[in-house]
């Protein structure tokens, strides 16, 4: 069969809502795009452990400490699933990790912002995990089987993450004046970076159309961002928090919240590596990798010796 007819058949399968599995034929570009997206997603989970991990040792109650520790552990687990899912496309974990450490691969820019107070942990759970759920619920219907199945599992845990975050947000918003101030400050700092998580406007997003055609995504960046805003503005108001956007207004006709323009200079600046924590996050990841080198070598060497012994015995 010619490449063109294979491509046509592939597109028909997508249009019929079929799932593509690792052994199926797929256009090279589909494979490349998925490797890019899935490894970025995995890196985001792993780098995403750092901002919240920053507060584990300082959590203000045992209950919150346990919840946070288990949440960050979940994120490591998500990273692991996603690296494994990416391997089904022929990209080894070592390769994609090298890309991260060499600065060739990206991860979600949101993790390049610092966690300055405990309230940031609450707001990350509520807003950042809230945004992730909206994105991942869509990806759970993605055309690539291993990705969509990973997303189904991950979404279940993410909804617990968001729930604990919002519970804490509500508690602090209803707390002492210091707690109220702390939580509003965190919302003020995280709101706009969270809106940026959905990426550039549709007209500036070069990959969107292709990803939608291939059934990887089913909604555009702006559509996803709008559903995030609609949901979270209501949740903020329900607990008496303000959204730091003077242009925010409810449109009765469209039944959507209209919001102000994102600072795209800041967005691109952080994407290009100049966010408040980009260098620090990468330094931490590289250090962990370097410091772990002797451990990984030892494990390999031990496994080799064990194999040798077994071979001798048999």
């Amino acid at each position: 069969m010619s490449k063109e007819s294979k491509a046509q058949e592939f597109q028909e399968r997508i249009d019929n809502g079929e799932t593509i599995e690792p052994k199926d034929w797929m256009p090279e570009r589909y494979q490349k795009q998925l490797i890019r997206m899935m490894s970025q997603h995995a890196h985001s989970e792993v780098v995403g452990m750092l901002p919240e991990g920053n507060w584990i040792t300082r959590a203000p109650s045992l209950r919150r400490k346990m919840i946070l520790l288990s949440k960050v552990q979940d994120e490591a687990g998500h990273g692991l699933y996603l690296y494994s899912a990416t391997e089904t496309l022929g990209a080894s974990r070592q390769e994609v990790l090298d890309d991260l450490l060499n600065g060739r691969a990206k991860y979600s820019s949101i993790f390049n912002y610092p966690t300055l107070s405990w309230a940031d942990v609450a707001v990350i759970g509520w807003l950042v995990d809230g945004a992730a759920i909206i994105n991942q619920t869509m990806l759970a219907r993605s055309s690539y089987g291993p990705y969509s199945r990973a997303m189904v599992r991950i979404c279940k845990e993410e909804s617990f993450h968001k729930k604990q975050g919002y519970e804490m947000v509500a508690q602090m918003a209803d707390g002492t004046p210091e707690q109220q101030e702390m939580i509003q400050d965190a919302v003020d700092r995280w709101w706009w970076p969270t809106l940026m998580m959905f990426g550039p406007h549709d007209e500036d997003s070069p990959n969107s159309a292709e990803l939608i055609k291939w059934g990887v995504k089913s909604k555009t960046n702006d559509e996803l961002r709008q559903s995030f805003v609609d949901r979270h503005v209501q949740e903020a108001h329900a607990v008496g928090l303000e959204i730091p956007d003077p242009d925010l207004e409810y449109n009765e006709e469209t039944e959507h919240w209209e919001f102000g323009e994102i600072d795209w200079d800041e967005f691109w600046n952080v994407v290009r590596g100049n966010g408040p924590m980009n260098k620090e996050r990468m330094k931490t990841r590289r250090e962990a990798h370097e410091n772990g080198k002797w451990v990984r070598k030892a494990a390999e060497e031990y496994a080799r010796k064990q194999r040798l012994q077994k071979e001798k015995a048999s």
């Binding site: 203000p60 002492t176 962990a288 772990g292 002797w294 031990y302």
Partner: protein, 261 residues
């Protein structure tokens, strides 16, 4: 059994015993949690966070039972956030900085192997609630032993560098392990009522497990009779604990009136 005058009531002794057990687990869990996001491989980030979470969970149950026994309407968090250095009774072994992965594993193996025997004994105490809690946690304690033992083997019998590193860590931490077996009036009072383990009953078995493991890992076993530090159960700590507590307690103490549950 000692014939000295008992100054503690059974209730006071049980409270103290539970707090000692809980402090060990809270502080060690804190040290392990410092690895989160910094592990040598992602699988170990997960494993160490998991063990940290187990320890902090075990500590939470023990503190909860301790304040219940005490009956003074205190919350478990009061014990965590509002006691000072000298009031903490954890072993010095648990508060030492996390060090490199080899040090973490060396300490982890020595503590987990001890905990395995201790928890096995404690699951038989004549206190339904205490024994039930211990039985539940014993499953996790067995995993901690397996996890750390496997890593001792890998590092000991891995490369030259890993062998040297883990040997150095075992040697460094050795002076702190004698205290694992420390017993005083608190233990004696409870042992009379079958409410505590007698660490002497499993000391030899523990040594055997440690020797077997280190030998299998091609490591040298330090002298069990060398100088061993003491004083932890009286609140005499290393300088490291103060810094750990400053970090752990500062937020809660800065805003004591807030609801942080």
């Amino acid at each position: 059994m000692s014939t000295q005058t008992k100054t503690l009531t059974k209730k006071e002794a049980l409270f103290e015993y539970l707090v000692r057990l809980a402090d060990d687990r809270l502080i060690l869990g804190h040290r392990l949690s410092e690895w989160c996001g910094h592990g040598p491989i992602l699988e170990e980030d997960i494993a160490l966070a998991n063990v940290a979470l187990d320890y902090i969970g075990h500590a939470a149950s023990l503190y909860e039972y301790a304040v219940e026994i005490e009956g003074e309407d205190r919350h478990r968090d009061d014990l965590v956030y509002f006691r000072n250095d000298v009031e903490f009774k954890n072993l010095k072994l648990t508060e030492l900085p996390k060090g490199d992965f080899g040090f973490t594993i060396a300490r982890q193996f020595l503590f987990a192997s001890f905990s395995y025997f201790l928890y096995t004994e404690l699951s038989e105490v004549e206190d339904e609630q205490f024994a039930g809690m211990v039985k539940k946690h014993l499953k996790e304690v067995k995993y901690h032993l397996r996890h750390s033992r496997e890593w001792v083997l890998r590092l000991g019998d891995g490369t030259e560098e890993s062998h040297e590193r883990i040997q150095d860590s075992i040697d460094d931490v050795w002076t702190y392990v004698g205290e694992l077996f420390y017993q005083d009036e608190v233990d004696e009072i409870l042992q009379e009522h079958n409410l505590a383990a007698d660490t002497e009953t499993f000391k030899e078995e523990w040594k055997e497990l440690v020797v077997d493991t280190l030998e299998e890992a091609t490591l040298e076993v330090p002298d069990f009779d060398q100088f061993m530090v003491e004083g932890s159960r009286q609140g005499l700590h290393t300088e490291h604990l103060g810094h750990l507590l400053a970090e752990m307690q500062h937020l809660r103490r800065s805003y004591p009136d807030g609801n942080w549950q």
